[in-house]
Symmetry: C2
Subunit: 155 residues, 2 copies
DNA sequence: CTCGATGCAAACAATTTGCATAACA
DNA sequence: TGTTATGCAAATTGTTTGCATCGAG
């Protein structure tokens, strides 16, 4: 999909960044895995397959840059790694900013979108005078599959 | 307040932990600063004033222990430090589980409680079969004070 | 007494940085 | 051609761990 490559190139240019193969490949790898939450090391390994000369430091530097521009989203699952996924601005599809459901049993991460948060933010603005511009919501619990499995073993 | 000390001691015992001066002092320091979000290093410095022999490793070990028992709450502001504050179980007052408003201008962290989240969690249970048991909500934005200051300079 | 808890220092691991080289604009 | 980005390796730093000692139960 060369048209996607062109998109990334103009995306970089639009944000005042130089277009390099490394940056385009990193964006490609992330964007071809929406919903996956990849660590720097994982991105490094993926990119190396397409561009073996890349260094880990470049991955870190690029990730940080893209994150500051909100082209990719940062996610911290408190497992010692910072993870990244393609964000709404880095994707043509309007995949809205979403939140995460983290299963404490199997570790799987689910995404969900919600508009209820807007009501909450409105209320906060009213009561505390605090104007919310971004949010990070992590809900921990038991996913459907794990709930079913534990029900089976209990019956 | 020696009655608070007694409380911490029984709190530790109740959770199957040995009562040591180090652990009690760490709990004291945290509980005398509700709403403050302290790093391990900061806790270490505070505790050293009352108990200079303590080692940083003990602080880390104790913090981890108390965090697993939910006596203290972990907070990650993505500034490279993991922070801790006394939790509802570690305090006699019923200070409900709360969420954080983080001002992107001055860095100040405000707390708020909300019940709207329960509606959200109910909805998630219905639509996705995911049962939420814990949550971490961080809202980033501009606090009242910083909003007022930027308004003044604009007028 | 016995096992868990501590202090110290060394080990770890994710991330950052300095610097010479390469390559986009 | 000049500045920005890269690769490599070394440095940094929050956190963990091994081990001998100490102290709560």
């Amino acid at each position: 999909m060369p048209e996607k490559q062109e998109q990334f190139k103009s995306l970089l240019k639009r944000n005042g960044l130089k277009v390099t193969t490394q940056r385009v490949v990193i964006l490609e790898e992330l964007s071809s895995r929406p919903g996956r939450h990849l660590t720097a090391e994982e991105i490094y390994d993926l990119v190396k397959k397409k561009y073996p000369e890349i260094g880990l430091a470049t991955v870190y530097r690029t990730i940080q840059l893209l994150s500051e521009l909100n082209l990719i989203d940062k996610l911290n699952l408190d497992d010692g790694y910072v993870r990244y996924e393609i964000g709404s601005k880095g994707q043509e599809e309007s995949c809205h900013h979403h939140h995460h459901l983290i299963c404490v049993d199997c570790g799987k991460v689910y995404a969900f979108q919600d508009d209820l948060l807007e009501t909450l933010e409105e209320r906060i603005k009213q009561t505390m005078g605090f104007e919310v511009v971004d949010h990070e919501v992590k809900l921990y619990g038991h996913c459907k599959k794990c709930l079913e499995q534990s029900n089976e073993s209990n019956s």
